[in-house]
């Protein structure tokens, strides 16, 4: 089964609204990374997390290793936030296991 489950699979937001994306892990994740893949295909680093929270501008992320999940909150969504958001779990060995992504569309 999926080791990293992302939800929702797709999301449409009105510009200026807020939302949250979630990843659930069925593996013992020790770290989490969040990426945005823009329409050109480039992967942009958003967050690297050990258990805890981080905030950067309109984005905030949390990772709870005991409950095996991570969230990404987007505040005041802008058109340029559109793209596919991936979470990836780091566990044993230095490799990331990716979720299937959340396709976000922000509309004016």
């Amino acid at each position: 089964g999926d080791k990293v489950k992302q939800s929702p699979s797709a999301l449409s937001l009105q510009e200026g609204t807020n939302s949250a994306l979630r990843c659930n892990f069925s593996i013992a994740a020790t770290t989490v990374q969040w990426f945005l893949q823009n329409p050109r295909g480039s992967l942009i680093n958003l967050f690297y997390l050990v258990p805890g929270t981080k905030e950067n501008g309109r984005l905030k992320s949390a990772f709870d290793s005991k409950e095996s999940y991570s969230t990404l909150h987007i505040r005041d969504a802008q058109l340029e936030d559109s793209g596919t958001y991936f979470c990836a779990a780091g566990s044993s060995g230095n490799k990331l296991i990716f979720g299937i992504g959340t396709l976000l569309s922000v509309k004016p």
Partner: protein, 112 residues
Amino acid sequence: GPKVLQIPSHQIIDMGQMVTLNCDPVSNHLYFYWYKQILGQQMEFLVNFYNGKVMEKSKLFKDQFSVERPDGSYFTLKIQPTALEDSAVYFCASSRDWETLYFGSGTRLTVL
């Protein structure tokens, strides 16, 4: 932020030919990775590489695949011979330590 460069962005070859994908990692990074993404699907780990050696590889890293970083230059993924199912976007990544990975923008490989 740190930049990983991948050249070219798109490569088209005939099935059975050899292809080499090039990656210019971040200059002071020591760990290198290849991931594969089939259109519309998640990224899948292929291999990681440190100190001139493959550290770990997945079942997707077939015998036809090889990686090297000769003389500290490009980190390369070679596929010989290519098969139709090798068509995908291949992402290179690098990291300074066992932490944040930085990805390139990918090379889209089309095998005809």
